[in-house]
């Protein structure tokens, strides 16, 4: 068993007076690809935001590479190797594609490395290469999602967090996005993805957690979850 890169211990998140996450345990080992699935409002996004430093949580409830990081501000966590692709993509619509990517590399000082990674991301997403000088706001939804993922990759993350990457996109585009996420994982980046499209998430990942009204109700091998009757009924529409 490899060491845990991310470890949540009894993570609680309150958000606007509501306890959205009511004490969950979750582990992502180095090199794993893990998904967190569940219905709308189950607390998935709150959990992810808390990990990334966007919501206040207890210090010891989030550990990254062995160190407690709960409650540290987001900008600091990026430097430690944690990147979040937020729900709704969050591209800077008034900045060009290139400028968006440059912001992804904001915390890095190795110019040559950044330039090489910039090229690598453009190679990974040829659509972005064609439009690299265009304002991000003029891209289609799928292109914006690619930009958001590429931008996160430019911070050279050890752990990539993705919040609903399929949201609002056509099925064909969603399939392509998940292909790319799989590719990123194979290149050695650890991935934790929150997703409502449970089938696609479980088919792509090797481990899965199921969240229901603020609690983890099931977890295990992704394949096993795909075959689990409760999961099939509740999330796969069978």
């Amino acid at each position: 068993m490899t060491a845990a890169l991310l470890e949540l211990q009894r993570l609680e998140v309150s958000y606007g007076g509501i306890r959205a996450v009511k004490g969950i345990d979750l582990t992502v080992a180095d090199g794993e690809m893990v998904c967190l699935i569940g219905a709308n409002g189950a607390g998935k996004t709150s959990a992810l935001k808390a990990i990334a430093g966007l919501l206040p949580v207890a210090r010891d409830s989030v550990r990254f590479a062995g160190e407690p990081i709960g409650g540290r501000p987001a900008f600091e966590l990026v430097r430690r190797g944690l990147a979040l692709v937020p729900e709704g993509r969050g591209v800077f619509s008034q900045l060009s594609v290139d400028e968006n990517l440059a912001m992804g590399a904001y915390s890095r000082r190795d110019r040559a490395g950044v330039r090489a990674d910039h090229e690598r991301v453009l190679a990974l997403f040829p659509r972005l290469k064609e439009r690299h000088r265009q304002l991000a706001g003029t891209l289609s939804g799928g292109e914006q999602q690619m930009l958001a993922i590429g931008r996160a990759l430019l911070s050279k993350p050890r752990l990539l967090l993705l919040d609903e990457p399929s949201m609002g996109l056509a099925p064909r585009v969603v399939a392509r996005i998940f292909e790319v996420i799989g590719e990123i994982a194979r290149q050695g980046v650890t991935v934790l993805v929150v997703e409502q499209n449970a089938r696609l998430a479980l088919e792509t990942c090797n481990k899965g957690y199921v969240m229901e009204s603020g609690l983890i109700t099931l977890f295990g091998d992704a394949r096993a979850l795909l075959g689990n009757d409760a999961v099939r009924k509740a999330y796969l529409g069978e």
Partner: protein, 309 residues
Amino acid sequence: MDTFIQQLINGLTLGAVYAMVALGYTMVYGIIQLINFAHGEVVMIGAMVAFSVIGALVGADTGLSAPIIVLAGGVVAVPLCIAVACTMERVAYRPLRAAPRLAPLITAIGISIILQHLAMMLWSRNPLAFPQILDNRVFHFGAATVTSVQLAIWTVATLMMAALSILVYRTRLGIAMRATSQNPLVAGLMGIDINRVILATFALGAALAAIAGVMVGTYYGIAHYTMGSLLGLKAFCAAVLGGIGNIPGAMLGGLLLGLVEALGAGYIGDLTNNWFGSNYQDVFAFIVLILVLVFRPSGLLGERVADRT
């Protein structure tokens, strides 16, 4: 025709100053959606500091040439104004960042009053006359004239605005400023410490304001502790005219407002059969403000590209 050219020259000078001050309003608004009504006071402090430095150097009989002395005024005024602006951000605005928008706005007015009265106590309640050291050479164009001070103001303003444009559109800090202004939360996810970016924005605005203060002081030859309020309000009008939050808009708005004011003052007597005189000069900025708010609230360049989500 000579009046026209003369007022054009005066208007460009005034406009250059308005543009420099309007940039401070628009950059701060762009990044934290606050109209920093104390910004005019930063200009005033710039002029006051320059007055003291220039006075001291002239009095000390250093033998330095006049342009060097004025430059020294600017060199001292810039860091002091930056310190004032950064202090107000840190002490007054940052704690209110999550508060309803009215709270920081009222705070800004409060800061403005505090700074005015501090300046009154530190310097004087009376207008302070700048030592007339620059030999104001006059160049003639027909019956119109340009002075060397006006030429210097144009040159410095152009250089400063060019430098600012490069900073905002070409450098890492500039892109981070624009990113933060669009979405501070996501900017944080990029590893940007938005508190530092916001401080840098205040500092840049203050540097421009300090230089504008030195310009106004040497152009009119006078500094007074209330000089920042009307100047600040007019520069705010210029920022709204260009489109608040829009950097090229502030430059354009400042220049246009200066021209409108100078031409208006030059012709209002003829046009109204001397019912109104050039003492109505100050009215034009606010007429422009009202017209913009009624007919084009987003300002001249304030149109935003439609966002897809």
